[in-house]
Amino acid sequence: MGGVWIMYLLGAGVRLWLMSTSSAVYIAKRVELSTPLNSWKRVQEGVFLHSHGIPVYSGGVFHETPLCLFFGGFLVRSWQAYLSLLFVACDLLTAALLASVAAAYSKQLLLIQKKEVGKYALDASPLLLTSSSLWSGVAYVAAAYLFCPYTVASCVAQTTTVFANLVLAATFTSMVKGYPALFGGLVALCTYQSFYPICLIVPGILHFTKGNNPAIFVTKLLMSFTVSLGLLMVMSAEIAGGWDFLEATYGFILAAPDLTPNIGLFWYFFTEMFEHFRLFFLATFQINAFVYVLPLSIRLRNDPVLLAAALLAFTAVFRSYPSLGDVGLYMALLPMWKHLYPFMRQTFIVGCMFVATSVLGPIMYNLWIFNGSANANFYFAVTLAFNTAQIFLVTDLLFAHVKREYHLFHGSKMEVNGIPARLTLQ
């Protein structure tokens, strides 16, 4: 128990120490962490414009939601001195929420295992989950979120992804612990903030249909979602004084007009595109971000939490303005599936790719922007390799899940009618 407290203190300490050094300003400017959507500098600029009566959403600087404008104004004006503490506290709370998600999920896995142990193959006993291994997974989840360099950097850079991650973690908690109305409201808040988490509704529905009163839970979920979203929109229109904010927030996320480099795929393509085809490619890219929901939810309908984590990962890769904070969130959830690690085959390659691209990325960016000796291709190539590494990680995880299921039900020999067979992911 003491170890847990020390872990949280260390996490807070690392963040606060980094925020107090001179590198905090440098970290805040990194494009991998601050995008036009989550940069705190833009929130401050929006608050400044708002306080001077200049329309905030008619320009191209501020793209956060009106609620963020409202709370940001309050924070900038009254809590300027405690801002770093607030960001650190949100990160600690996120870590705690993720740990509770891991704990509840582990309990569910054990329950499911107890129910189905009769259907397992005879030689599947080494594959069975034990509570001790699962409990260590809970600590690892919190540690992963507290000490992952991506989340630490995202917190030190004071990006609003910290708050988005908090809401996402709360969404996961409400889903795993079985509160449909709360889940609906939180998904509405997530969607309101960054639009892409709307795909989390599908794993939510799948999760609540497996419960006791599927119809009532699902209705509660959907009603809560629509009512919350409606309320949020109306409140935003009140704060922003009209509906112009829609074009500046969701219009901006979907149309991606700002081509600032980031770790995503949009900026490079749209810099070099013919104007004639812009709308076509835009539609293609945005559909690509959502197209994985349907097949994944059909395949993973029995494990909605894994589905939700996989969707988070795909969103982090394919959204219009990703940042390392999004990456850090789903990576922190991975220790929940510690039991799948023996089945993952590409961990070394993926690990090396992550390390190499995380180091090379900022170097290439500096060479391009400050030295003038490289160009955009160098940086984009490294970013592309980083995204490939993420895709490999997720597909490896899903493949491992499929393999483990097969081995649980069919034994460790891979034979179909006596002929040696091979497992493929389809």
């Binding site: 500098k41 401050q44 414009l49 200049i54 320009g59 600087v61 081509l259």
Partner: protein, 480 residues
């Protein structure tokens, strides 16, 4: 015979009637001012004024001009003015930077590149479309690429660029009638000088425009061509109004040293030609040489002797001009003014003008930087100046760093701020800055650069991007 007499009578009466109705005058003036830094500042002004009852009516009622019977006023320009609801127009094409710190204040100030600002008549038509059409027509008139002016570099400032001609308060305070745009990358060359000279009544055949040879003009340190149209009063009492077209050419040429190191100059040396013919259409043709500080011809002597000496102002704003009447002086031979200096020029400390400003970019790399402006007030009274900054959309300004609540050492009041929209609208930043006496104020605007699409880079992208000059409007306590 009777019909012939009748026709003659009608013809003569027409002449008499139209002779009384038309009243346009043309004057030419040239000011030569030797600057303290050793340069020579020459300023040509060709002024055409025009009064008709229709013009007076249009000026008083803020209606479009209707010109007829063009005589001295250039028709090509008049048609553009008529068609595009123009009331006041100021166009300048400049090459070089005017160094206020060393050269003082010019008579007509212009930024490097092209600058156009127009006050339109109140009309029901869409002024943005009218502005686009006007810009294209002017670009054809002066052979400059003014057609690059569009919504991304056009602004309507709130306090700067008020009408210089007649305007009532309801009109002068409404910036929606006005458009301002600047193209800093525009080059000026002979191609622009030729159509500009063609607008003059005497063209290049006679008068002061004979001095406008391209080679000395375009090897100068500073060269500005401008066109100013405004409605103004005919006399001090303003009992009648007229339309005034001023074509000005400002020139700063480097000192040419003689063999003894004296900074002697002459019209022949400055413009590589002499005045031979006088313009018969000009009602006044004068050359002024600024002899302030040259009391009793102690520093340099002028040959031929000036006709009269004109003195105005007192104290620090004292000005003495030696006036030559060109029309009286030209008697068939060439007319040349020569200045002979008594001793070598001393490159000493130049007293700075009352207000001078320095503006530069700080930061490195292509990520961003900051535009820093340093205002220096060397006078004994505090000054309020209006600072106007027009920036392209791809420089994203972040104002909260320099205008935060804790930055109240010298308050900057933002009078107008138009935030940019990507690819649609540029930045307009206009602020009132209070500068205490004998002090320097620094204002910095942080920006980050946006990544442009491959089609949006200018030709020769590695050359960089030009940012339009900032404008400072102030009322100085002394004229000098």
């Amino acid at each position: 015979m009777g019909e012939f007499a009748g026709v003659l009578l009608v013809f003569l009466s027409c002449l008499v009637v139209t002779g009384r109705c038309r009243d346009d005058t043309f004057t030419e003036e040239l000011l030569i001012r030797p600057l303290t830094s050793g340069h020579i500042y020459s300023h040509f002004e060709f002024t055409t004024t025009w009064t008709t009852p229709e013009i007076t009516r249009s000026i008083d009622q803020y209606r479009d001009f209707e010109f007829s019977h063009y005589d001295l006023f250039p028709r090509a320009f008049g048609e553009i003015v008529e068609r595009y609801h123009v009331r006041e127009l100021h166009l300048s094409l400049t090459q070089g930077l005017w160094r206020h710190r060393k050269w003082g204040y010019p008579i007509v100030d212009a930024p490097p590149g092209a600058q156009l600002w127009v006050w339109f008549n109140p009309t029901s038509e869409n002024l943005d479309q009218t502005w686009r059409d006007l810009v294209n027509a002017l670009s054809g008139l002066v052979c400059a690429s003014l057609n690059f002016i569009d919504s991304t570099n056009t602004v309507s400032p709130e306090l700067s660029y008020r009408p210089q001609g007649l305007a009532e308060e309801w009109y002068a305070g409404n910036s929606s009638y006005m458009r301002y745009a600047a193209l800093p990358r525009e080059n000026v060359c002979t191609e622009n000088l030729t159509p500009w000279k063609k607008l003059l009544p005497c063209d290049t055949q006679s008068g002061l425009s004979m001095l406008l040879h391209p080679v000395p003009l375009y090897t100068a340190h500073y060269h500005a061509l401008s066109l100013h149209l405004r409605p103004s009063c005919k006399d001090v009492s303003c009992s009648s109004v007229h339309l005034e077209l001023t074509q000005a050419l400002s020139l700063v040429q480097g000192p040419t040293l003689s063999s003894s190191g004296h900074q002697d100059w002459s019209l022949q040396q400055l413009f590589s030609t002499q005045l031979i013919y006088t313009c018969p259409l000009a009602s006044m043709s004068k050359i002024y040489v600024d002899v302030t500080g040259n009391r009793d011809m102690k520093k340099f002597t002028l040959d031929p002797e000036p006709d009269i000496f004109d003195e105005s102002g007192s104290g620090p704003s004292l000005r003495q001009l030696a006036v030559y009447d060109v029309q009286a002086a030209l008697a068939g031979d060439g007319f040349n003014i020569e200045a002979t200096y008594k001793s070598r020029h001393i490159y000493g400390i130049i007293p700075s003008p009352h207000l001078h400003v320095s503006r530069f970019i700080t930061g490195y790399g292509q990520e961003g930087g900051s535009i820093t402006v340093k205002f220096t007030n060397s006078g004994s009274t505090s000054l309020s100046v209006v600072y106007l900054e027009v920036l392209p959309w791809y420089l994203r300004l972040f104002l909260h760093t320099s205008h935060s609540y804790s930055h109240t050492k010298s308050p900057v009041y933002i009078s107008k701020l138009v935030t940019a929209r990507d690819r649609e609208q540029g930045w307009l930043y206009e602020a009132v800055v209070e500068i205490p006496a004998s002090s320097t104020i620094e204002l910095s605007l942080d920006f980050t650069r946006a990544l442009l699409k491959w089609l949006e880079y200018p030709p020769d992208a590695n050359h960089g991007f030009y940012i339009p000059a900032a404008t400072i409007s102030a009322v100085l306590p002394t004229p000098r």
